[in-house]
Amino acid sequence: MCAGGEGKSAAPGARGMAPEVSAAAPEARGMAPEVSAAAPQPAVAPEARGMAPEVRAALVDLLCQLADDELTMGHRDSQWLGLAPDVEEDVAFSSIAQDEVGHAVYFFEALRQLGEDHPDALAFDRPPAARRNALLVERSNSDWAYTVLRHFVYDAWDAVRLRALTASRVPALAQGAVRMLREERYHLLHMETWVRALGQAGGEALDRLTAAVRAVWPDLGDLFDLGAHADTLLSAGVLPQPADALVRAWVAEVRPVFEASGIPWPGLPDPAPASTEVVVPGGAVVPGGAVVPGTGVVPDGVVVSGGRPVVFGGRRGVHTEALDELLGEMTQVSGPHPSARW
């Protein structure tokens, strides 16, 4: 369970109630009513009623993937504040960052309605092993070429995923997806324009862009992973398209832009989810025990296949040191004062 950590399962069907949130974290954060008032109210609860436990678990996992992707991407984007190539771009880029965090809030609210923790607790208090974001979005920003290329391939994936979710049987996902797609259109357009411009400029810009492609590509398999519950998501109609269909749609989105930018199409990376190899961030092989360096925890995404432990990346809670560092900064204020409101 990504959201509540261990043993924090909530009774399905508890509409609008947050069962057993005695940990006081939600109230302690103090900002709950404002967040709720500002955020569109996701309507998950009716679906949760009578939802089979494995479907609920799959839904929670997917919501965490969506929320964590958007929060982490928005956080990385916000680090560009005051440092973008020009003041006009600084303002434009910051709006995109705010949109991403706003979308994360929507998904965290949806989790709360399923009986999971308060959005702030979910965003700030979960350890890396409980996070479901793709590795791609947690990587540090590097240069502007990496930033816009990473953003472009992520936004294209996000758009494809959201388009599929508009047909979800979970109303919160279907309704949220329709609204988010409208905002993501500008993100995609803006990033696409950047990629094209850097490619067409040639010279240093094209060199940097090419280097960015090399850096981004190994993370794609992880980005495309739909997590440990992918089969249930599909069969229950929560995410009514399989990963390979999404990947095809993603290629249709991304490849023409590469062609217009003068970047040779690198081909698709191996589909990581189907592999039986040990896959860990950074390329190091983790021996049988699968303890993740830097966290000291056994991620709950470890599954055994053919007698060998198979550890996947971000969607299974296995992250890089970049996420540790990001979270360390993010919780610097809230961390040492667990009972305080902010």
């Binding site: 020009d86 006009e88 771009e89 303002v91 434009a92 910051s94 709006s95 500008y186 357009l189 803006h190 324009t193």
Partner: protein, 125 residues
């Protein structure tokens, strides 16, 4: 009359090589005209539109944006008040020129109409 002298602008020279000043106009709803809100420095109209969206329409509503290269704008000189001067009586073309109608209607035991009234009546009914 000359070009390049837009209301809040100076000459037409680019403030950075390869870039130009684009004046930005936001339309807040379909029934409102486009309103000048400021300018951006951009390498092309496409970029100007993309950054203008967030630099000038990140709050409030907008349904349309224009960007216009400053050097394509012709404007009257801002310090030539005479261009707009109206020295002699033009109340014959304004409502205020007919304030006596109300008093005169009273003689006929009827009330003067106003445009607002008519609009409320016709559109509200």
């Amino acid at each position: 009359m000359r070009s390049g002298g837009v209301a809040n602008g100076a000459g037409a020279a680019a403030s950075r090589p390869g870039h130009e000043v684009y004046e930005v106009f936001v339309q807040s709803s379909a029934l409102e005209p486009h309103t000048h809100v400021g300018s951006v420095l951009a390498p092309s109209a496409e970029w100007a539109l993309q950054v203008a969206r967030e630099n000038f329409a990140r709050r409030g509503t907008a349904v349309n944006l224009w960007v216009v290269r400053r050097r394509d704008i012709a404007a009257t000189p801002a310090d030539d008040g005479d261009f707009f001067v109206r020295e002699f009586d033009r109340t014959y073309r304004e409502v205020s020129g007919y304030s006596d109608n109300a008093r005169r209607w009273k003689r006929f035991k009827a009330r003067a109409m106003t445009m607002d009234e008519v609009m409320d009546d016709v559109r509200g009914g």
